[in-house]
């Protein structure tokens, strides 16, 4: 639909996705409840949520950009800045911490040559601290996209990174 293409100027959503969101928003009494779904769809396609994504979400749901931004900035799994292709969330909550989480975090930083909040020069990895990932039984754990890894030994880090590098170049 011509009108819908116009509201998504830089192509953050697939055409069908956009149409489905608009349809669904019309059915709901409080379309605002879809904020996370739309943001996640944008993030899946684009890797992160640029300002245009916040504004697009607001347009789809008929709310103001600040109302979207309030939600987008509350959750640390929604990225409002560009991140690497593999954002690595390293758990720093109690079970992981008591099972060597700090050492694991250090190992990641050493291997990648970056600290928390930074992205490797090749644009592949971003390191981010996270609160409990909900897999305390596998502590220490990390999450990359929706996938959880743990328990991780220090030696596992090299292998994991290499695997992801291979995946990226494949």
């Amino acid at each position: 639909m011509a009108q819908e293409e116009k509201i998504d100027q830089i192509g953050l959503l697939e055409e069908e996705e956009l149409a489905a969101f608009i349809d669904h928003a019309c059915e709901l009494e409080h379309p605002r409840e879809m904020v996370i779904d739309v943001l996640r769809a944008i993030q899946k396609n684009h890797g992160w949520v640029p300002d245009e994504g916040v504004e697009l979400t607001a347009t789809i749901l008929g709310i103001t950009p600040i109302e979207v931004e309030e939600v987008a900035t509350f959750y640390d799994k929604i990225f409002r800045r560009q991140v690497g292709r593999f954002p690595i969330h390293i758990c720093d909550s109690i079970c992981c911490w008591s099972n060597g989480g700090e050492e694991l975090a250090e190992q990641f930083q050493k291997t990648l040559g970056i600290t928390f909040g930074e992205t490797t020069k090749d644009g592949l990895f971003t390191l981010l601290p996270s609160c409990c990932l909900g897999v305390c039984g596998q502590a220490p754990a990390v999450m990359i996209h929706q996938k959880l890894y743990g328990p991780l030994q220090l030696d596992d880090v090299d292998e994991l990174i290499n695997r992801l590098r291979r995946e990226a170049s494949a």
Binding site: I66, E70, F74
Partner: protein, 785 residues
Amino acid sequence: MPTLTIDNQQVTVTDGSTVLDAAEQLGIIIPHFCYHKALGPVGSCRMCAVTVHEGTFKGLKMSCLVKAEEGMVVTTDDQQSVEFRARVGEWLMLNHPHDCPVCDEGGECQLQEMTIASGHGIRRYGGKKRTHNNQQLGSFVAQEMNRCIQCYRCVRTYKDYCGGSDFGVMGSRNRVFFGRYKEGPLESDFSGNIIDACPTGVFTDKTYRFKSRYWDLQEAPSVCPHCSLGCATIPGGRYGELQRVRSGVNEKVNGFFICDRGRFGSSYVNHPDRRRQVRSDGQPLTVGDGLSKLDAQARELIEEHGPEAVLLLGSNRASLETNWLLQRWAAELGCRAPLLSAHLQRHQAAQVAAFDLSDRLASLEKVRQSDLVVLFGVDPLAEAPMLAVALRQAARNGALIMVYDPRPIELPCEVDHQPTSPAQLLAMLVSDCEPEIVRIREMLSEAEMPVLVAGGDLLGAEGLLRVKQLAVEQSNEKRPCLIHPILGGPNSFGSAVLSLPEQDDLLTRLESGRTKMLICVETDPLLEAPEGERFGTALSHVDNLVVFDYLPTPLSVHANLFIPSTAPAESAGSFINNEGRQQLFAPVTNPRLPIAETGAGNHPPREFLSTAPGSDPQPAWQLLQQLLGDMGDLETVRQQMATAVPRLVDFTNLQPGGVCCRVTDADERSLYAGDLPEQPEGSLQLVVTPARYGSDLPSRFSAKLTPRFAPAVLQMNPKDAAALKLAAGSKVSLDTEVGSFNLILNCNKDVAAGCALVENGAAFPHLVPGGLPSFCQVSAGVRDD
């Protein structure tokens, strides 16, 4: 009414009170941040901890959340509570930049007070502090985010209470940020309230930045002079300069907040062109000489030409005292009774409010409590901004808000707006079958606390009487149907209360040629009454024009004798607001040339004078007392006035900054305002509305408000524009009974069909709201005059 014990003292409080309220009643102030009377408790700051020993929930509790119960025993000073609050104080201060010496809030900062009250004094935290980048939020509000303690008061004020949509809270944990999605001026017409609401120095008044420390500021309770609602304000000044205005509290009127017009519209007091000396045909005089000259000339003219020779004109900007003394002086001089308004139609509408509606007036508080509010001919943001916020509170409690008005109404709440032309409005109010009025009647009959809001400007005296009919018909034994009228100025109701029943028109009187001397007190009919041009021409019949004013109006420049009076913030006085509340204001500063002006940024001149430069202006009531040769002070004047006008409230029962009382009811006056004119074929109804900023003269002369002044445009319904083959954005010529004007056309589907809408303000002062219904033509292109 539970009775409880707090710190070994018993107190009985009303049902529903919190422990925090109850303690306050005993004079025990429990440290708190997030709790605010208008916003209610949220329990987010954890500062107000107390220990409950007897009660449903025992232990350490947040006193803002716990309701007072019968037999409850609470301590605020036990070790557990004191230590808890000290820790909270310390933790709220973790990231604080300790920049009080350069913070404008310093001295009136709740964070300073509560931190000390909580017992936290020495910082133990040695880690890194969280820091933020600030946003530029426009010319009114400065932001310094590092001082935030996350109490959420700002966002609850801006968004929840006032309905602003461009402000919010972002981030999480200790990084929460209160601001806009992107930098830029705050858009709400109530944005300044976050300055008062924020208990720290995050949001401060940018227009007052680095001007005064709180303890150096002179403040006094006052009444806002910018519209007829009469909100409670607390202006502050120093060194002859009125530096800021903050909100006062009047639970019957504004509650706890005010609008940006009231807050940032005060700099007219310091206008660089303000005349502070008596001038007689260009020559400076002392006040005494000026008054003697005036008195002598007036008496001579009356002796020579009779009682018509001198005409006194009061106004709705002038205080009650001034208008009344004007009447006394006229009686003493032996001239005819003064006109108390240059704007006949507005004055008539005010008289309907002051007499015919006097037994069914609703306060703004009643509007907030109503379950159905129907507005006839009112645009709240233009005519009475805090009404919009009151409507929002009603809507938040489930009320339905219906608006019948030709203008595109914007409100910070859900509203059912039916674009209705002025003629349709007047007709529907007396119709039996018009579907909308049938619907309104049905809904009104089911409502529990209905309020009708009636705009005096658009409805005129006749329309207000028709609204009264509806209210009478919809009242029953169980509950009345009340009216909240909106009038032209801060003391419209007051000058109407004093007015005499016979109608008289300024222009007819002047044009008769019998008036030799016109004395205008705090009014400029060139700008404040319709047909300014006709007034200008009629002035040629007058030999002697005398103006008392505190504004540099065009009329004051033409005056043969100019006598400077004081602004409301520089004098004591009283106004009666739109619902008949007789409210007092106290003097904040003494009139004088601001040091900011004499020193031009440097040290003021090192001359020795016994009086401050520019300190000649006196309150108009005081000038009139001198003309009357009466040495009585304000209290005496007030006593005499209350005796002479029994409707007024005894002044000894009133206090500046108090809730104040309503004047007593009066018999109907049932004015006949003349027949409504017929609409000429092919014409449009002309609708003149006040601009949100700069329509009332004090705000027009306030430099601080200029960022909000809107350009002049003509608005029409797109269908009408299409029928006339006019394109949106094009130049059009508006031909009215008082002249032709070139304007840019804006099309807006929310403008009622058949209407042409213009805003009166700094950019377009030519047409004044509230005149007789009139008609116009709109055509393409520019017309040369």
